[in-house]
Amino acid sequence: MNQENKLELYRMMLLIRLFEEALEEMFSRGLLHGTMHLSIGQEATATGACLALEKEDLITSTHRGHGHCLAKGADPYKMFAELLGREDGYCRGRGGSMHIADLSNGNLGANGIVAGSLTISVGAALSLQMQNTDNIVLCFFGDGAVNEGSFHEALNLASLWDLPVLFICENNQYGMSMASENAVAGGSIAQRAESYGIESISIDGNDVEEVYNTVSKFKDTIKSSKKPMFIESVTYRYRGHSKSDRNLYRSSDEINFWKDEKDPLKRFIGKLTEEKIEVETLKKIETEVKELIKNSVKKALESPESPKTNLEEDSYA
């Protein structure tokens, strides 16, 4: 990986972090209607995975999908506009935080149903197979999804039909309040994929280079083997599940350990500094990203609200 790629990984992780911190700030000022699911702490997985893909590769995303969306190329302005219910938003204010789709960049959409996108990714991969393309579908889901029936039906069919799906489980260790260790019989998420004949690996999901390298390698393998593959990317969310979460199910020591010792941004900055990338270069990127966020928020706040069109008609194509 050259320096330019590394700086791009840094820039994207920072963009996701600052995007979501800006959302938090807007939420506390009462500017946002509804709840949201923040991925602060998990930026390395979204970044490493999406930046390893081609634009024509597809992704399916989750309720905690801001990072996936940005990393797949979405415009922060149009995302802010969506969360603010503006006409310029990706879904014209009909989807909000949990349902942003950005077809032009291959993002088939975030999904509010746990494991809801797994079977959709299988269908999208079938389209790619029928169209004889070389592209893949990367399907994001959380550790909570692996206990849903559709997870098993989707993996089984993808394996039987040799569909080009890269399943990537972002194991942030909690399904809302339920610890993954209390929810996954047999202990290993990655092993479940093996039982469907799908090659799998468990990686450090807070190491952006490890995620990037693994997804790159798996993507190439899928392109030649035409078989699905599976990554368990172990990470941690700092914020609550949603805005109602009081964090009663975990200790502040645990949260602080991940923030202090395992933070994906902090670790990567440390690594880049060790590799003699100048602090000035990183500062310059930080300033640019902050400026982008600031301008995007301002523009979104000034943009027109989504008009009250005939919503019943909008329900149908």
Binding site: L58, T60, G89, Y90, C91, R92, G93, R94, G95, H99, A101, L103, L108, G109, N111, G112, I113, G116, L118, T119, I120, S121, V122, G123, A124, A125, L126, S127, L128, M130, Q131, G149, S150, E153, A154, N156, L157, L160, W161, L311, E312, D314, S315, Y316, A317
Partner: protein, 330 residues
Amino acid sequence: MPEMTTGQAIKEALSLCLDSNETTFMAGEDIGVYGGAFGVTDGLLEKYGEERIKDTPISEDVIAGLAVGAAITGSKPIVEMQFSDFIVNAMDPIVNQAAKLHFMYGGAVNVPMIVRGASGAGTGAAAQHSQSLESWFCHVPGLKVVTPSNPQNAYDLLLASFVDLNPIIFMEHKLIYKLKSDVNLGPMPNDSSALGKSKVVKEGSDITIASYSNMVNTVINATKDESLGDYSIEIIDLLTLSPLDSEKIIESVEKTKKLLVCQEAPASSSIGSTLISEVVSSRAFRVLTQAPEILAGLHSPMPSAKHLETTVIPQEEDIVKKIKEMMSYE
């Protein structure tokens, strides 16, 4: 015009769909070599190959979900629920995904897919293989629900569903599969305007009977009963349940002043109850000479034994009796 069964007419329509669009595929349980549990897809595997006629494991959730994923990425899937009762295992992809993605993503995607399912009772298949669940789907914005009653309208409506851009729930009553009639095998329509339209199958001026699916056939047969004498009975086949063409029923009731709805499904939260509510809250209310009535399946699971099954489902004699009762009241 060739004479054929509804099952054959549906197969002809499916063939035309597969011929007209190379992104079309079918997926479902035992639709390949077996030819489908009711023989509808018999021969399609030989004609189109396993790339397009895809036998699946018994996995209704992923059958419906893969249709959604394929539909939003340029394919045109037609998937089958072997018995429509099994659709309950596929509710998330249908209700939370297929029905909502177009709206939820601000119109950025369409979800053009068809879910076919064999519905209804009368075959002694008992409680888990005999239901008429169509009204569940009418409650969900974003879905269209189609219920043919004979070979010709099954052929026409399947083609109209195919050219529509929305997810379609296409419920085929098991008892219509073997009904036979001449079928005009017309070309692929240019648009889906045939959906959302009910049809007057027999004109009359004394009473309106609205029905759908196989119950339409029961109503038609019942009204041939000689004991009904000269009663002039108008029969309307709803054909599409969502969107529901209640305007045609309202117009008919303005003329006949009486409404009876006949359906196999239980009455509670059903098509019949919706239709009656729409009629009584319309301009037709003022001309009604009596309360509209609904003759529906009993509110019980479907029993297996023939004599009990016919107790649950309205029979011809029940319809004759109800018509006489309603006509005696002026």
